[in-house]
Amino acid sequence: MILFYNKKDGEIFATIDGRVHGKDQLKMYADKKDKDGKKIEVGKFIIGWIEKFDGKKTFRNEYNKDEFGLMKDFEDKKELSPLDFKIENFKLINK
């Protein structure tokens, strides 16, 4: 899962679903403007694995393993959304 957040206040405003992300999804990003109409500075927080191919074999790097349980909850529980969380000190905090 890739989370996009406002670097200023940590608010998560967009996500990309999934546990394993390849180069196509890593190229993707989300944009939003602040209340003054200026584009916000966007941070990216990855939970899961990034898949890379080194020319011979595919390997996966793990990101933010501590949050895997929460990612599963986002997938399983309809009432729980990452958009209700924010990023603080590289941790997910419920708003």
């Binding site: 967009a14 679903d17 196509d24 989300a30 939003k32 958009l83």
Partner: protein, 131 residues
């Protein structure tokens, strides 16, 4: 080139002789495949008319896409674009479009938002090309 592909027939039909309608699956036809899906929030401040979220897909072509949305205080999702009844300009519009770089999701109020309003969007971007 020889005959190739994949077919799965319905129960009771021989896959080697089944017609297209007797198949559950066939690689003969294109299917939609998802390149990415996710969620997004847009908050429209009181008195403003429109605000949007942009998701850059990097595909280099206009992809097929599907968007669902709801006002955060409501429970049901609507298929976007959603417009209230004709001449109803006091309720929110949910709108979306795509180009070769991004998918756009927008919350609009015809007469300005009566209060700060947040819309939640669920998006699906497909590998399939519209243009």
């Amino acid at each position: 080139m020889g005959d190739y592909g994949e077919k799965l027939s319905r129960s009771g039909f021989d896959v080697k002789t089944a017609t297209d309608k007797q198949l559950v699956l066939t690689s003969k036809f294109k299917t939609f495949t998802i390149v990415a899906s996710g969620n997004g929030n847009v908050t429209l401040l009181s008195g403003n008319y429109r605000e949007r979220l942009e998701v850059a897909h990097g595909l280099g072509y206009v992809p097929a896409f599907a968007i669902y949305g709801k006002i955060s205080t409501e429970t049901e999702y609507k298929k976007v674009p959603y417009t209230p009844a004709k001449f109803d300009i006091v309720n929110p519009f949910l709108y979306c479009w795509a180009d070769s770089t991004k998918v756009y999701m927008e919350l609009q109020y015809g007469i300005g938002a009566p209060a700060d309003t947040t819309a939640n969007f669920k998006y699906y971007i497909f590998n399939n090309q519209i243009e």
